[in-house]
């Protein structure tokens, strides 16, 4: 099977002279569940916004040989980059099935949209199975629990045929059990997708991250496994201030979990 990867080179985002993302280079391979962490204002969400066309940027973000910078939001989505938002944004007045069916349909021919749905597309069935929402298919999305809405969003990315999933704090506000299920879902999905998770929760990070990239003040500060990153003095510095020379593991968790 071909290995897919997201390749970001010299990406820069400037707002009115303020450099939010500064010359970021990043390569994420398929099967490598990547977590993106950093203090508040480090540019994590801005980086995701830039890749998905929400914020103008310079530099390069390529996937499958296609340059994303400069394209429109819906074109980037069609090129295989999908994202979620910090607040779940499903269509609350539509059912789970309708939500997924819409996500699956961006490439349908316009005239075929004028007919009612006759059968459930295979990809939608598969996504409901993967996200455990099969039994809730006729439930309105607005009635789902918080965690289920996030899973529906991930399911929508799957049927949308996104190859790159950029998830912005998917477990924020979830219960312990929901976190665990989400972590397992991400590991399953990560096997055949390029997955980047922006996250503050260090416990979650340690349990599920294959690799971690640390951003600070718009720059890549460190990169490696959880243990490598945690042992990096530069990382300890941005999280705890310059004076500390020894950082116990718990301290990183305490500061990181706040944001």
């Amino acid at each position: 099977m071909r290995e897919d990867y997201l390749e970001i080179r010299s990406l820069r985002v400037v707002f009115d002279g303020f450099v939010a993302v500064d010359d970021v280079d990043l390569t994420v391979l398929q099967g490598d569940l990547r977590f993106l962490i950093g203090p508040n204002g480090a540019g994590k969400t801005t980086l995701v916004d830039a890749i998905t066309g929400l914020t103008p940027a310079t530099g390069s973000a390529r996937f499958d040989g296609v340059e994303m910078i400069g394209k429109k939001v819906h074109q980037i989505a069609r090129a295989g980059i999908g994202r979620t938002f910090q607040t779940a944004s499903v269509f609350e007045e539509l059912t789970v099935l309708q939500n997924l069916d819409i996500a699956a349909g961006a490439l349908r021919k316009p005239l075929s949209l004028l007919r009612a749905r006759r059968s459930v597309p295979e990809s939608v069935e598969a996504a409901m199975e993967t996200t455990g929402l099969t039994r809730l298919r006729d439930r309105l999305a607005g009635e789902l629990a918080h965690g289920q809405k996030q899973w529906l969003e991930i399911g929508m990315l799957l049927v949308q045929n996104a190859k790159v999933l950029l998830l912005d704090e998917p477990v924020a506000g979830m219960s312990g059990e929901e976190r665990e299920l989400t972590g397992q879902l991400l590991q399953t999905v990560g096997r055949d997708h390029v997955v980047v998770v922006v996250e503050h929760d260090m416990e979650f990070l340690r349990a599920y991250a294959d690799s971690v990239t640390v951003l600070a003040a718009g720059k890549v500060l460190a990169h490696g496994t959880y243990a490598e990153v945690q042992a990096d003095p530069k990382v300890q510095e941005v999280y705890l201030g310059p004076s500390s020379d020894h950082v116990p593991e718990d301290a990183v968790q305490a500061t990181g979990g706040g944001g």
Binding site: H74, S89, F91, I102, L113, E143, M156
Partner: protein, 399 residues
């Protein structure tokens, strides 16, 4: 359905029975409409009343389009008078030309240097019919793409559409020499070769209007059932999210907007031979808001609500304005405010509220507290007709 478990079975059944009830409601609605319009009305109504009803049916056609654009698509269009006027004036020009005969000129043009070139475009009956559908559609396409591409929505779109209606009415008033200015166009003698003073032909016009209205409702019905209808609702509720799924929401919205405009254009075209006059008074800001009121009262997101609301408001208007002319305008405004503030789903939602209340009364024993406001199972699965739950946030945005 193989994976559906015991826990959700009853819910699924509820959904199915809700859908069956919904189908029956729709079937009953169509049957009632056909019997009333093609059976009862022509038998019991005098020629004068029938003509009034035909006029109301034309206004209801505009309401059907608004129900699609606003109720389903979230576009509060306060300028449907523009498209109504385009269709109406094209029809009026054609009727004037055919009355005048080959090479003739309409009677109101006593002076001047001959016909304007664009009058000639609509001398041919086929060209006139095409123009009635295509000119409003094209206008909506250009305006819609320009506006939706720039992500203008909510109150800004409403204000913009109203400003267009105001400008359009002013433009018409200024054209005294070519389209009769503020007097408009009137005194039509025949409609595609049929004399308009013949009662049989007038009856035929009523049937044409009734059939057109039913066809428009059927078109909107199919659109609401279709994948496009689901997508339109999704755009209404989360335009940004739809964009991230790979759609261009501007295109989704513009389709509904163009259909609404075409409906308004056809409505205007039928209004002309039925009423016998079209003037800037029928197409400006006030009539444009009048179209909206009926839709809001009837229930903008439902299938029949816009039609019934529009007919009710038209009837109330014609009855009341005969006796208290000035009061009706205030009453109309008051009605609009009350509905928008307290009953965003329109009268159609009262039915659901009442049913929920009475259903609670029979389910629970006497003296029990009222049941919690659960979501109506009828709207589960296919929120096509029952989708009229109050939604104060959304209305707040659009006001």
């Amino acid at each position: 359905m193989t994976t559906s478990s015991l826990a959700t079975t009853s819910r699924a059944e509820q959904g199915r029975s809700g859908r069956r009830r919904e189908r029956l409601t729709v079937l009953a609605g169509y049957t009632f409409a056909l019997v009333a319009l093609f059976g009862v009305a022509p038998l019991v109504l005098s020629d004068f009343r029938l003509r009034l009803l035909a006029q109301f049916l034309c206004l209801a056609m505009v309401a059907v389009g608004i129900g699609l654009a606003w109720g389903r698509g979230g576009m509060l269009t306060l300028g449907q008078g523009v498209f109504f006027g385009l269709g109406a004036y094209i029809m009026a020009i054609h009727l004037q030309l055919s009355d005048a005969g080959p090479g003739g000129r309409p009677s109101f043009m006593v002076t001047g240097s001959g016909l304007p070139w664009w009058w000639e475009l609509f001398r041919n009956p086929i060209a006139a019919v095409l123009g009635i559908v295509l000119v409003p559609s094209l206008a909506a396409l250009v305006l819609g793409l320009a506006v939706f591409r720039r992500r203008v929505k909510g109150a800004y779109f409403a204000i913009l559409s109203q400003a267009v209606a105001a400008a359009f009415a002013l433009l018409l008033v200024s054209q005294q020499g070519t389209i009769g200015g503020s007097n408009g166009l009137s005194n039509f003698r025949q409609f595609f070769g049929f004399a308009l003073n013949d009662p049989v032909n007038r009856r035929m016009l009523f049937f044409i209007a009734a059939g057109t209205l039913v066809a428009m409702v059927a078109i909107v019905h199919q659109l609401m059932r279709s994948r496009y209808g689901e997508l339109l609702t999704a755009v209404r509720d989360g335009e940004e999210r739809v964009r991230f799924l790979g759609y261009d929401p501007a295109l989704v919205k513009v389709v509904a907007y163009v259909i609404a405009a075409a409906f308004a254009g056809i409505a205007g075209a039928l209004f002309v031979p039925i009423v016998g006059i079209i003037s800037p008074r029928n197409v400006g800001v006030v009539p444009s808001i009048g179209f909206i009121i009926g839709v809001a009262v009837g229930g903008r997101a439902t299938l029949f609500g816009p039609v019934l609301g529009s007919l009710a408001v038209s009837y109330a208007g014609s009855t009341l304005s005969a006796s208290f002319e000035s009061i009706w305008v205030y009453l109309q405004g008051f009605l609009f405010i009350v509905v928008v503030a307290f009953l965003p789903g329109g009268i159609a939602s009262v039915w659901g509220l009442l049913r929920r209340r009475t259903a609670g009364g029979t389910d629970s024993g006497p003296g029990d507290p009222p049941p919690p406001p659960v979501v109506d199972p009828g709207s589960d699965g296919a929120p096509m007709l029952a989708d009229a739950r109050p939604d104060p946030v959304k209305v707040g945005e659009e006001r």
